[in-house]
Symmetry: C2
Subunit: 448 residues, 2 copies
């Protein structure tokens, strides 16, 4: 791979220029801005690699970009997205979000870390591979969507209709990042999520609070129902839910123990004296990655302005977010929650599903994982930190695990890349290492 | 009192014109509109009775109007207010709120039922008394404030500084109304109130909800704390609070039993199948009037807009309103609640008092009560419905009970007077009966 690396160095300036071009083009899914233009830029870049590119219409959404390159025994699926988060709040940016700037080796622009840097790094790695090795040693499928930042609402059904485009032996997911201490990380899965509302209704309209003696209050009813869902020690009490949660295996516990977990720094950043249950070290990390959550994301009832208003509310709503570890599925959570509430007489409480995603997890023994670990070792000169699972969620399941494809996440970000925030950035050093990593991964995954 | 009644009939048109004049003048305490002008109108009307009127400055509020008239062994205190609620929502009014209109014997205007009708009816009764009986048989003290509709924030301290102005043998409170079936009502007291917030804080800022595994969630903490305050059967569980609540006496239970309680109509109006605990009849009424409340008036945490936002909130707030029966006082509630929370480890939860009012209750044996019942019997031709206590709250305590003055509420409204609502109104028939009632009360209270 020496020629490969030399090629990257020789083309570094152009590669950066290309990244600037990508980042100059706004492509904000939430606001429907620039998605068409951005999809054309990505299409053109793929065509420069000699790929035949399809812009596939998605019912109600921006097109999926699909391309195949190379051939070989193995197939590698690359999943990325060309849309970005809105740039607000604008006044907190040190330079314009869509006017890419490099300061002291750091490249600032909206979308550069999430996910245009990784998207382009992968295409540039393919270019370098082709230029220096002649041809690809495996088949690469690029699957690039345009509405990841609004929750990929059409992705699952699109994937189910186009499984033949996705079939692969392994998937390199979206992106990834170095950790606080500069160690490369690889993540083998994502939690799922079930986001829903509980809604409680009382009288026809809000009433004077003096009537609270005899007229039921939906806000109290919501409190009583919620208090049956989780105890003060953060144990989820929804009947049967925890029965579906598996303890990490011995191998997974070893992986957890190998993860550097900078907990004091975390607590200081968050401004909290302790983690839940006073957990520390690997036990905190185990809870973080291997326990589901039942989180109140929002609560609303009655009067929420300044001062006093003596009102008996007629509606109360909670937004709950269940993060799902493997074996927990969105529909199952809704079903168990409904049964749990009914059993306790809360048959009047509406359960309103908002959105759901399955968890996804690759085996550490999958060839793509072994290849990625070896590739990282070669590029970064150290064993990567391997997360068996990430605490966040994403549409990994329908694109990969549902089709039997092991997926892992690795990429060009770092711990302070400010994803979804002002001054989003990547470090140029990480970017070029990321290109080299993709080259190494292609090479090693094809080989074994 | 025959001449008295004849005088009222003879002057009916002028009396209505005066009421229109009062109602044409906006006097909105919440918006600081027209209070100065209104206080001058009231002053002028009192001066027409020959009273020496004082406009007493209130630190930070509109003036209190104070006047004394007549002399005798007994002193009657009249409490009223010259401010009104804002007229919004304007589009639901059938005529302009400050352009009084009479339609089919009903007088529509903002403030006519709360409280300008009662205020003026009392002054017109005094005029009729003086004109027909020569002089008043007792001393009358008029105490008229201008910020009742914003919670009388300066009243308690003003009253404490001016107790000599308030000293009296009985007080006729603000106003009152006929019930759904047209029966006159007299109320002998008001519940107190303690309105406060509980505030819970978590991390420095809102965080991504995937961190809910290890970072404490103040919204959950609030739910757990709230669930210790009241059970699903609506029993208040705050340690020691219910120990201060007295059962109604046998006399009071008799009064309750004599109150016509149109519960089916109430439930239909509110759109609820049952009252709390499935209570009916006198048991429901007993709970309504003799139990304190602990009401969630408002709940707020995290994201409360449409759809999903996966946020771990860093603050949660509840607004709680405790309605206080006799022996429960605002400060006591705050103290008991603080102790209750501390005992359960919720020392981090802030208790923020917003406003408080003592309960007040007159004895049914007080001479003013006996005189009022007899006066009502004389005017309305039936025994009035006597409420030993009302479920609502008001600043009765500092003006009356704190000074040992029994107070009762009676007035010119009816069950559909739309207090604080569009199309506020009184019936002219009730208005003139109300003037006669005040005349009878003066007469009878002075006599016995």
């Amino acid at each position: 791979m020496e020629k490969f690396n030399t090629y990257i160095e020789a083309n570094a300036e152009r590669f950066i220029e290309e990244l600037k071009e990508f980042c100059r083009q706004p492509s904000i899914a939430a606001q429907g801005i620039g998605l068409e233009e951005m999809s054309r830029l990505v299409q053109a870049r793929l065509e420069k690699l000699g790929a035949e590119v399809r812009l596939m219409p998605v019912n109600g959404g921006p097109p999926v970009i699909y391309a195949e390159l190379g051939k070989g025994q193995r197939t590698l699926l690359l999943y990325n997205h060309y849309d970005v988060q809105p740039p607000d709040p604008l006044d907190l940016w040190d330079s314009e979000p869509f006017d890419p700037q490099i300061r002291e080796g750091v490249f600032y622009a909206r979308g550069v870390a999430d996910n245009k840097g990784d998207l382009l790094a992968r295409l540039q790695a393919i270019e370098a591979y082709l230029a220096t090795q002649g041809e690809l040693p495996l088949k690469i499928k690029c699957f690039i969507e345009g509405e990841e930042e609004v929750g990929s609402p059409h992705l699952a059904s699109f994937a189910a209709e186009h499984t033949h485009l996705l079939t692969a032996d392994g998937c390199l997911w979206e992106g990834g990042h170095k950790d606080e201490s500069g160690r490369p990380t690889i993540a083998l899965g994502l939690k799922g999520i079930m986001y829903l509302e509980l809604r409680v209704h009382g009288a026809k309209s809000d009433l004077h609070s003096s009537l609270a003696t005899i007229v039921p209050n939906p806000a109290w009813r919501l409190v009583w129902a919620l208090s049956t869902l989780k105890d003060e020690n953060d144990n989820i009490l929804v009947d049967g839910l925890m029965d579906h949660v598996a303890e990490p295996t011995a191998t997974e516990m070893e992986m957890l123990a190998a993860i550097p977990f900078e907990e004091e720094k975390m607590r200081a950043n968050f401004g909290i004296p302790h983690f839940i249950r006073g957990l520390t070290g690997v036990e905190a990390l185990k809870k973080h990655l291997y326990e589901p959550t039942c989180t109140i994301c929002g609560l609303k009832a009655g009067y929420t302005g300044e001062g006093a208003k003596t009102v008996l509310p007629n509606t109360a709503v909670v937004k709950l977010d269940f993060r799902l570890v493997p074996n927990l599925e969105p529909d199952l959570v809704v079903k168990l929650l409904r049964q749990h509430l009914d059993k306790r007489g809360f048959t009047d409480i509406e359960v309103v599903p908002i959105s759901g995603l399955h968890p996804a997890k690759a085996s550490p023994d999958a060839p793509i994982v072994k290849a990625a670990i070896a590739a990282a070792q070669a590029v970064y000169g150290q064993r990567p930190v391997v997360y068996p699972l990430m605490a966040g969620s994403g549409p990994m399941y329908p694109l990969t695990q549902a089709l039997g494809i092991p997926a892992l996440a690795a990429g060009v970000g770092h711990a302070e890349s400010n994803l979804h925030a002002p001054n989003e950035n990547i470090r140029l050093e990480d970017y070029f290492q990321g290109i080299r990593f993709v080259g190494e991964l292609i090479h090693r995954f094809a080989a074994g």
